[in-house]
Assembly symmetry: C2
Homo-oligomer: 309 residues x 2
């Protein structure tokens, strides 16, 4: 009888893998740097090696399944990655089947933000909640939707691309072809760009802008304006999500959460003004911080074999 | 063994009820004018009388269940209607339980647009498709989402309020407290308001604006501009929906469909530009006209007892 699953999360700087049991206890954990520039074979070999190592340690007999979270859009049926900025050499390549072949075991491929949403639902801020949306606020903005306890994937596997929904009709241009995308107005990259537009300095990180916001004086004022605009963009997106889904829980994660005190009040104000559904369900609808940090995707990947069976 | 269900659709001008069998054949049909101004008791009596009449004719033994579609938001657990412009006297009143009591039979209450989406999925343009979104283009814009063959209701029952998602950041004000709502830029009411702003005349209906668009000359040009702006608003909303859901089918229904030739090209152009998910799945994603017209809600209401069991 299977007693653990293996999850792997392929991130921009780290590859993490873990053996996790059905109750969410992490039994073993592997973490290593990823070097995307080394190309396809290196990345595939790293993925397979990490999984093999965990499987050998825990034993193949107890393995319930293997889930792999990757950046980019997944074509579920084919097991392809498409539209991944970080992993162009994995595109239009049968990555799932190739990993599966090398492991001689089935593998479930999932988008990293979807996996993170599932992880939060299983072991994080969404425990006990069947329906939630997660927004990952990083250099880009990923989205993951869990509906009825399962990832909402859409018919191709590309659902949940909330970072590319419009929040400013004629806003900043985006590489996706659209303009005014959420991630062009509320990601760490957007905060950095606004800092430059506000002449706060070049190459400031979102953390720098957070530190500035804590100061008094003109620079502090400008930094707080940036967080206001960022919070309003998030609030706009949340209003749309609440009106569409009427889910009980919306989670935010990522490196910008420390600035919560500066953006969240504006986010909530915009959400409240723009969504009567939110106002009508205010006591029951929660907007909250995710709790698993960058281990959410790892938990979600390991949960896939249990929940997709 | 049950062989039919009763569906009832309570509209602004009509109350329809029908006995429909499991395969979608309409066995009996009742239609009458509704007079919302007569108050709660009159409306409740009309609803109950129509259902009783059908049940008596077909026999209670064969009745699988009763579904009732109403305008307004539904609080599912309580069986209440909330936020209905047309039926204020039914708000915060146990309407489902009261109908159920008078019929001595369980009743499933559903929002009218949700019921219409389910009806299209069962017997209309969505046959054979498990996941779709329906937008009803009327004096307002309703939305209904079917996911995995069932209505996506959200935890309170208010999901699918797509008409109140923002498509123009600083657009027209809406009674819901938001501004730039889809229904303030793409409904029949919005088309009428634009006709007035364009000085095409007072109190023109959307049908008048459609007729004008077919003409040459300045008025025709202005009318076509209105349909362009309306189509772009719809395209914006569809781009958001496609990015979020990655569903295979998005349906439009309502009295403005005759103007399809004038708004649809702009709608599709905006959708294509604003959604890379659409571009990546273009051959598989359909934007189409609903086919059941104003009987969609009736079919959907009658399907509820089968699908919610």
């Amino acid at each position: 009888m299977p007693d653990y699953a293996i999850g792997l999360d392929l991130g921009g700087t780290n590859l993490r893998a873990a053996a996790i049991d059905r109750s969410g206890v992490m039994l073993d954990h592997i973490s290593g740097a990823t070097n995307f520039t080394e190309g396809r074979e290196a990345v595939l070999a790293d993925i397979v090696a990490a999984i093999v190592k965990l499987r050998e340690k825990r034993g193949a007999a107890g393995l319930a399944g293997i889930g792999v979270g990757v950046p980019g859009f997944i074509r579920m049926k084919e097991g392809f990655i498409t539209g991944s900025n970080n992993l162009p050499y994995l595109e239009n390549f049968p990555v799932r089947d190739e990993i599966s072949r090398r492991l001689a075991a089935p593998v479930i491929l999932e988008n990293d933000a979807n996996a993170a949403a599932l992880g939060e639902q299983w072991m994080g801020a969404g425990r006990g909640v069947d329906d939630l949306v997660l927004l990952t606020l990083g250099t880009g903005i990923g989205g993951g939707i869990v509906s009825g306890g399962r990832v909402l994937r859409g018919f191709v596997g590309m659902a949940g691309e909330i970072g590319h929904t419009t929040v400013v009709t004629n806003g900043n241009p985006c590489g996706c072809g659209n303009q005014g995308c959420l991630e062009k107005h509320a990601s760490a990259t957007a905060v950095t760009a606004m800092a430059q537009l506000m002449q706060l300095g070049h190459n400031l990180t979102s953390k720098d802008v957070y530190e500035l916001a804590r100061q008094s004086g003109e620079a502090g004022e400008k930094a707080r304006t940036i967080w206001r605009v960022m919070g309003e963009a998030l609030g706009m997106s949340l209003a749309t999500l609440v009106n569409i889904f009427n889910f009980p829980l919306y989670l935010l994660s990522g490196g910008m959460l420390p600035a919560w005190e500066f953006f969240a009040p504006h986010m909530m104000e915009t959400l409240e003004r723009r969504s009567f559904t939110y106002r009508a369900t205010k006591s029951e609808t929660r907007i909250a911080q995710a709790t698993l940090g960058n281990e959410a995707g790892l938990y979600g990947a390991a949960y896939l074999p249990w929940v997709e069976k």
